[in-house]
């Protein structure tokens, strides 16, 4: 088991190395470089100055060489400076990462719990009224675009009802726990609803399949109560495929987080990376994308570990 995890971490590091090169090259291929933007705000710069700056930043070197220099620094934790924030990359990135993780983890837990409840209820009587209502809800959840949902939430709960603040992470001058929590409610609900629909359908399908199995009939033949048959015998089996899908899609939440953060003006990773790319902030964009990769790789590892833990028939070696 320990060997398995170690091997997986080594594999993840390898993937990370490859990804860093791919991302570096892609950013290098983008039209324009940081100097173009600097010059746009300072039209008086002479060609000599430009040449000097180009040398200073190493932008005259070939891409491969630049990448190797960057890698050398990155391996010892030097990710350079953010051009747009004039700060070390990590001191911009870490707060954003924490903010995004807060949003993602709370949304993820909320949508998983909601999906389990709805999916099981729907599976109890496939084709019944409850199943119809839940399936409609799930389908709506899959179809509704996140940005539209966010706008509607703001319109209804912030503008009309004044229940929650429309944007930001805290009120200036307050910032207490309650204030921060209130600011999180709408982003969390928006992001959670975006994945609840899909999750619910997976839970429902898996439960329907398991409830048809012979061992469920055996559990009934033992005289187990219906709740026990469903929640102990069937649910544990239905979890196996569902948990894998859920853990794998944790990485996908990053996409949703980008939209949600933009709509609710949350200073998270998604918005940070977006701004960094638009502002030609190479270092910040590159490091941000790498951290996003790490989150995805981690969620894949967790998915596999959960699979082995839930299903005794799988031995992780």
């Amino acid at each position: 088991m320990t060997r398995y995890i170690l091997r997986r971490i080594l594999q993840a590091l390898l993937v990370l190395l490859v990804m860093s090169f791919v991302i570096y090259s892609l950013i290098g291929l983008m039209p324009g470089d940081p100097l173009d933007i600097m010059l746009a705000s300072n039209p008086g710069a002479t060609p000599e100055v430009v040449e000097h700056l180009r040398k200073l930043y190493g932008l005259d070197q070939p891409l491969m060489l630049r990448y190797l220099r960057w890698l050398q620094d990155a391996l010892v934790g030097q990710f350079g400076y953010s051009r747009t924030h004039s700060l070390p990359v990590l001191s911009v990135l870490v707060p954003a990462l924490i903010q995004t993780c807060k949003l993602m983890i709370i949304s993820f837990i909320a949508s998983v719990i909601l999906a389990f409840i709805l999916g099981i209820l729907a599976a109890l009587k496939p084709g019944g009224i409850l199943d119809g209502v839940i399936s409609l809800f799930a389908f709506a959840g899959i179809s509704v675009p996140v940005f539209w949902l966010a706008l509607m939430m703001i319109l209804v709960f912030a503008v009309k009802l004044h229940w929650f603040p429309a944007s930001g992470i805290a009120t200036v001058g307050d910032g207490g726990f309650r204030d921060q929590a209130l600011h999180l409610v709408m982003p969390v609900i928006t992001l959670a609803l975006a994945s609840t629909g899909g999750f619910t359908r997976y839970v429902r399908a898996s439960m329907i399949e398991v409830l048809r199995m012979d061992h469920v009939r055996t559990a009934r033949a033992k005289g187990a109560a219906e709740w026990r048959v469903v929640l102990v015998h069937a649910f544990r089996n239905a979890l196996i495929p569902v948990v894998t899908i859920m853990a794998l899609s944790f990485g996908v939440l990053f996409n949703g987080a980008l939209l949600t953060e933009t709509m609710f003006a949350q200073p998270g990773m998604g918005k940070m990376i977006y701004d960094a790319i638009l502002g030609n902030d190479f270092n910040l964009a590159l490091t941000g994308l790498l951290f996003a990769t790490v989150v995805t790789l981690l969620s894949n590892l967790v998915a596999d570990l959960a699979y082995g833990w839930l299903d005794p028939r799988i031995a992780l070696t």
Partner: protein, 321 residues
């Protein structure tokens, strides 16, 4: 003969379809006394498994059982879900055909056995777990303590079926319903499982309703045999009498299809045709289309079960002749 433990009267199991119910079990009567074994034989789709599920109150919805099942002096048809649960696994237990799929794959075998006693005897898991180890030993599993911790996929087919039997007998039921318990096993294991069931029957004194499509297997274990065809009992007789003197043409056909190890034949005999559509045969004998003896009378009315010898019933106009 002692008073019957189980008395089934006019049992029908119907599934809704356009314009009414489709009866896969179409009115059957039989009785079973404590400590006795009843064999139920018939080909796939004859209603024998549905009869078993009706005894457990587990007819899959939207199907429903009608008629009368008296068990230990109580009427089972129409009792509440809670009454069924108190009975299932406790007084009436069932062993299923597929030991591969009938056990929960993510639960250790010992816990699955212990659960029965936790549910019915209200024991703690620890005590029930100890009893489960003893049960595994009683069904002939070596190193039962380790096996109790194993998951079903870690056991062989024979061991899984033994574990199923241990589970069914955990509360020493009065009636064990075994639905093709040996069909999925290879022949040597089949014999071991049959021996085990007979041995445990002696010890616990339970009645067994043993369902199989295999007449040879049933003949080894049953005192009395009922032969089902298309939802009806076509013949009911003590086991020896049935073999010595089968009266219904279908039973005769079944016995004729048994391979005789003494005799090599190029082709085993078969009964021509297939089980009729249960909707179609509303009139006349359900076997008429496959029967060499059938005449106009057979197609006009359904033959009633006649007692042609003491304890030997056959539902055939030609049987008495």
């Amino acid at each position: 003969m002692s008073a019957p433990l189980l008395e089934v009267r006019g049992l029908r199991v119907g599934f809704p379809r356009a314009g009414g119910l489709r009866h896969v079990v179409a009115g059957i009567d039989y009785a079973l006394s404590p400590g006795r074994t009843l064999g139920v034989v018939g080909e796939s789709g004859c209603g024998k498994s549905m009869t078993a599920l009706a005894l457990m109150g587990l007819v899959p919805p939207p199907g429903r059982a009608e008629g009368s099942i008296r068990f230990d002096g109580r009427e089972l048809i129409g009792q509440s879900a809670a009454e069924w649960r108190a009975l299932r696994g406790n007084r009436i237990a069932m062993v299923f055909q597929e030991p591969m799929t009938a056990l929960n794959p993510v639960m250790p075998v010992g816990a699955q056995i212990a659960e029965v006693q936790v549910l019915h005897k209200h024991l703690g898991w620890k005590e029930a777990g100890e009893n489960a180890v003893a049960m595994l030993e009683a069904v002939g599993i070596n190193s039962p303590r380790e096996r109790a911790r194993a998951y079903p996929h870690q056991l062989s087919g024979g061991m899984r079926q033994r574990a199923m039997i241990a589970m069914a007998l955990a509360c020493e039921p009065a009636l064990l319903v075994a639905d093709e318990p040996t069909t999925a096993l290879d022949v040597t294991i089949q014999a071991q499982i049959l021996d085990l069931m007979l041995e445990l029957q002696d010890r616990i004194g339970m009645a067994i309703q043993f369902i199989s499509h295999n007449l040879a297997v049933v003949s080894e274990i049953a005192h009395e045999i009922i032969v089902m065809y298309a939802g009806r009992i076509v013949e009911r007789a003590p086991a020896d009498a049935l073999f010595a003197n089968p009266r219904h043409p279908y039973t005769q056909g079944l016995i004729a299809t048994l391979p005789d190890p003494e005799q090599r034949v190029a082709r085993l005999p078969v009964i021509p045709g297939g089980v009729p559509d249960l909707d179609a045969g509303a009139r006349g004998c359900r076997f008429a289309d496959r029967c060499a003896l059938a005449d106009a009378g057979c197609r006009a009315a359904e033959p009633p079960a006649e007692e042609i010898a003491p304890g030997h019933f056959a539902a055939c106009f030609k049987a008495a002749a």
